[in-house]
């Protein structure tokens, strides 16, 4: 996790000011630095593409010749951190995870290069394989093709099961993902978000304080410890028709209880509930080989998801209040916290049928 914004992050503005040709030159420089055996590295057709609130993105085409004389052509996307992000994440974590997962049957883009401190491209960045498909969340969630959207939602359950059954120890992912004993990682997630909350809040927020206490007191025993994506939801995967082609945005990946991902994917703001109800989604996930989903765990992680979303919102509001970002979409994010916390309180006392279907 990152510390305060440093010089490399402030240089994101320098990167933002760069022309597409200059960005292409910097990507080429990064490829040369990370692929020392490559010759004739060329980067063309660099263009800015939407990378979300937390990062900036550029797409490009690259070619290079390896030591054996073979030419590689690669469609690449560069993701660069920006100042005032509402998510605490460094690109080297994402690079480490994707490097490990490239050896597993997980739908993830290959990681090609890392600029950890931004000294080459102007901001901490990763270069990833550009996988075909669309990430258009509005087109998916508002689709009139219910059958295709249903297939896509069920394929997301399959993609999640593939990720959660990956052998992270054999893949060497314990090094980039675990900051302590693996069995402690679910509690570590609660502590991590509580720490973020405490450092971001502009007022005491006693209800959030209490909810973090509830989470610690009610932490369920995970069926297994898995690689958890951390931001698995519509908008963070590529799709073609009814198929997920790649899971994106791995900067919040960690080891933990895989139920966390399922609950996050069904937050009200982006839930695919109208295509596949949550209970059916979890049954499909289990049938695809995913670990068993205990109702108690699902309720816990639905509440955890709201607390996490509220914390991200407070972090965004804090970044705007401190002048760390000028993004007006983040300015009033604190106003969303009340609805998230209301859902938590309802689910704490509701019967399982209610919290599993809303």
């Amino acid at each position: 996790m990152n510390g305060p914004a440093g010089p490399a992050v402030r240089d994101a503005y320098r990167l933002l000011d760069a022309s597409d040709a200059e960005v292409a030159a910097r990507i080429a420089a990064l490829l040369r630095a990370r692929l020392p055996a490559a010759r004739d590295v060329r980067v063309t057709r660099a263009e800015r593409v939407f990378g979300g609130n937390a990062r900036r993105a550029w797409a490009c085409e690259a070619t290079w010749t390896d030591a054996g004389g073979e030419t590689t052509r690669e469609s690449i996307i560069m993701l660069s951190r920006v100042e005032g992000s509402q998510v605490e994440a460094e690109p080297d974590g994402e690079f480490g995870v994707l490097s490990g997962l490239s050896r597993a049957a997980v739908r993830a883009p290959r990681a090609l290069a890392l600029d950890r401190d931004g000294s080459i491209v102007g901001a901490p960045s990763v270069l990833l394989e550009r996988v075909p498909g669309s990430a258009d969340v509005v087109a998916f969630l508002r689709s009139g093709d219910l059958e295709q959207s249903r297939r896509l939602t069920l394929d997301l359950a399959r993609a999640a099961a593939e990720l959660h059954t990956a052998d992270w120890q054999a893949l060497g992912l314990d090094v980039p993902l675990a900051a302590g004993p693996a069995e402690r990682t679910p509690l570590a997630q609660v502590e991590r978000w509580e720490s973020s909350f405490l450092s971001s809040r502009l007022e005491p927020h006693p209800i959030l304080v209490s909810l973090f206490g509830w989470l610690v007191d009610n932490l369920p025993e995970p069926a297994r410890i898995s690689v958890v994506h951390g931001d698995l939801r519509p908008g963070n995967f590529l799709y073609q028709g009814g198929t997920v082609t790649a899971l994106l945005d791995w900067e919040m990946a960690h080891l933990g209880d895989p139920v966390e991902d399922l609950a996050w994917a069904y937050r009200a703001l982006w839930s695919p509930q109208r295509f596949v109800p949550l209970q059916e989604f979890t049954r499909a996930y289990e049938s695809f080989g995913g670990p068993p989903v205990a109702p108690r765990s699902l309720r816990f992680y639905r509440i955890f998801s709201e607390v996490k979303f509220a914390t991200i919102s407070l972090r965004a509001a804090r970044a705007f209040a401190d002048g760390a970002t000028g993004n007006l979409r983040l300015a009033d994010r604190a106003a969303t916290v009340t609805a998230a916390l209301t859902r938590c309180l309802e689910w704490i006392t509701a019967d399982p049928e209610e919290w599993a279907t809303c």
């Binding site: 007022e203 005491p204 927020h205 006693p206 209800i207 304080v209 209490s210 206490g213 007191d217 009200a268 703001l269 993004n327 007006l328 979409r329 300015a331 009033d332 106003a335 969303t336 009340t338 609805a339 916390l341 209301t342 309180l345 704490i348 006392t349």
Partner: protein, 165 residues
Amino acid sequence: MLRPTTGELLRGVRLGLAEHVLPALPDGAAVRQLKASLHILRRIERSWDRLPAYLEADNMDISDTLGGLVAELAERGGGYPELSRRLASPPEPAPLPAGVCDARLARLMAVNGALQSALADFDRVWRADRELDPGARQAVAHRLHALHRRMLERAAVAAGTAHDD
């Protein structure tokens, strides 16, 4: 000097921007920024005058509920007596918060901040009080849960988000 009200002014500004400025902008960052601004203006338009009444009601409810809980638990020692002392003493006068011009509103905000802080600390104290018997724990949790729900309902109305998803 009552008209136009602040709400009327905000509505006029919002509609002017939405109808005359937004259509003239090319797609891109400026449109996204303006749409975000319009969303904020709309929320403030329907909530700008609710803060004082909200704070008065919230302060009274937190003070009564938390005061009752702390009084019942004070004899147990631990962190409860300190909370009792804090609740009995008004917060120190402080400079006006950024963006606030009215001294009475600032006072209500200061009291609310102090009560929120005491409520947050109470939560840590009672959760750590492992000698509290299960029945008493359940009773405290139940009363706090009810208080939290009332606080959220009030906050949603005050912020103009009561009917948001």
